[in-house]
Symmetry: C2
Amino acid sequence: MNVVNESPRRKELTRLAAQLFVQEGFDRTTVRMLAQEMGIKSGSLFHHFRDKQEILAAVIEEGTQNALTLARHALEQCGGSAEDRLHAMARAHLETLLTDRNAHVVALYEWRRLDSEARAHLSHLRDAYEALWEAVIDEALDDGLIRGDRFLVSRFVMGALNWTVRWYDPEGPRKPEDLAHELIAMIAPSTQAAQAVSTKV
Amino acid sequence: MNVVNESPRRKELTRLAAQLFVQEGFDRTTVRMLAQEMGIKSGSLFHHFRDKQEILAAVIEEGTQNALTLARHALEQCGGSAEDRLHAMARAHLETLLTDRNAHVVALYEWRRLDSEARAHLSHLRDAYEALWEAVIDEALDDGLIRGDRFLVSRFVMGALNWTVRWYDPEGPRKPEDLAHELIAMIAPSTQAAQAVSTKV
DNA sequence: GGTTTACACTAGCGCTTGCTTGGTTGAACT
DNA sequence: AGTTCAACCAAGCAAGCGCTAGTGTAAACC
């Protein structure tokens, strides 16, 4: 087995695996299918990954790690107002959902297939990401930008955003930027975003 | 095979199957596990269902059918204002998500495991349900209750609601009624619901 | 020049899978 | 009393599953 977790070959294989997992689902994707997609025989696969589970974990880790990095970066770059920060988070979320789409779909649909060990490790990553969201939502609440229960609002917003993987078409006219704008206009009535929307109608 | 689709025995078996599908996922649930849960042998299962796929279709159909019926009933019962109707839909949605939780979780997670035939049939049911939502959202837009793009708003709302199956705890203090209220307060600023929330804070 | 290392191969083991076959049972109906 | 029929069972087939063992090879390193 490959001891270096971050070999470039392994990264490429992880990317291909993500694609197959989305197409077929984790359970229906056989190691033989994975190997064929990678251009090797099924036995060779276990040189790179200890077992099939580890491939799943690698896919999800990759996606979550990227989301976390992107969100942190977006928060550093954006302005300091609550609206700016909320918008930056929504936009970053949608962008990672788009660029790492396969990995995130796998994370959303196949999370329960992880063994307890991998799940514990990845839960920490996910919690770190959600903590960013809750902090930004807290700011927006303190600022009076939005109203309601902290817990409920953050979950409603995450739900609305994550659901986009089911219907969003990257080829369509709407950009992630636009979606972020519309979402915030929907929940924060007295913003510039909302004014823009209401005058458009 | 059982020709009568609606035999009570079959309904009971469908209910049990839904539970197992949620616990294990469709692919990992074997016909032997299903049979054991039902108290019969695996061979006997195929007296009631043509194949494993048909069990999945039965589970999803049951849940979607109930959701549609409940939503229609809720719309008939409620008042005529846009806010009332929006609230009735949200509440009905959350209630069916709670009472038929297993079936809906299966519908959300295992939809892609349906063969094309079953998918076509069930898509119609689902479209009928979503049409109800879009009509109610149209009314709310016309009424000025909410703002934004019809398509986006309905998808954001459905996302927020469906995401609840991931975190909602029926044993907790929050009732479906409360969630519906909070959601509408979040997206429709000038309602009674929103006033209640803002004075509470 | 010899050893190590990364990556791939072939062959197949042991097990589980969805589903079929042929037959039994007991209650309901004629 | 005879017939029908839904419901169940025991046994097992053919295919596919994840994974292992043992080997080959070309490049990299000492």
